[in-house]
Amino acid sequence: MTAEQIIFLIVAAGIVGSALMVVTTRKLIHAALWLVAALFGVAILYAILQAGFLVVVQVVVYIGAIAILFIFAVMLTRRELRDQGPQVRKGWWVAGLLGVLTFAGLSFIVSQWEGFSKLAAEIPADADTLGSLATALVSPNAYVLPFEVASVLLLAALIGAVYVAVKK
């Protein structure tokens, strides 16, 4: 067991534990905060995968914006300050069964792939992953079209959300 593997196992246990708390806890505000913990664990995973830019983007976009949106929405849509009654629907064991089946099915299908257990190549010391990511996002031979379409999508979402949520 190398040090990297131990760190990965600790982080993975943290992510899975936080995700389980997100879907099972009664108080909704605690669920939102456990989501923050899970998102932070995913950011650490990106750091293990040496995708440095995605670490900060994950924290800024997911934790700094989406999680705060969730917390605001939870606080604005409650009649009292407490949650009441059961928080899962009556057929929740069917959902649990479906979840387990999905997990088993996905793992089985992916394990049939011949590259399933490969180890990663080393990143050469002079590789500028940040620079080539930036070039890929704006180069016409690469991915500038999805990048611009994503910005139009965000503009549409901004206008739509403001229009829907404005009190008339």
């Binding site: 995968l49 479906l98 403001v162």
Partner: protein
């Protein structure tokens, strides 16, 4: 890096399944959106892991992950705006109670 790719793929499958359980089993509409966020994060882990363990010079994995970030943010913004608007009209966010269009 001594971690085999299979560990990342199994972790993301587990996260995806937990998110799926959250979407199917919770009553509150906001809790359903939390499950969707978990599923999107699982997809992102997969994309970045395949970037790292494949050709590092080929940036498609990271670019796709960035597009998924943008789509997730847009979806959460519009979804939560809709939920708040529905709450103002109907005073509830329990998904089972929003059945005006049922036949």
């Amino acid at each position: 890096m001594s971690i085999p790719l299979s560990w990342f793929l199994i972790l993301s499958a587990a996260l995806f399944s937990i998110g799926l359980f959250g979407v199917l089993a919770r009553k509150n509409a906001i809790a359903i959106l939390l499950g969707i966020e978990l599923m999107l994060n699982a997809v992102n882990i997969n994309l970045v892991a395949f970037w790292r363990y494949g050709t590092i010079a080929e940036m498609a994995g990271q670019v796709f992950a960035i597009i998924v970030f943008a789509v997730a943010a847009a979806e959460v913004a519009v979804g939560l705006a809709l939920i708040i608007s529905v709450y103002r009209q109907r005073n509830t966010v329990v998904a089972d109670d929003l059945d005006l269009m049922k036949w």
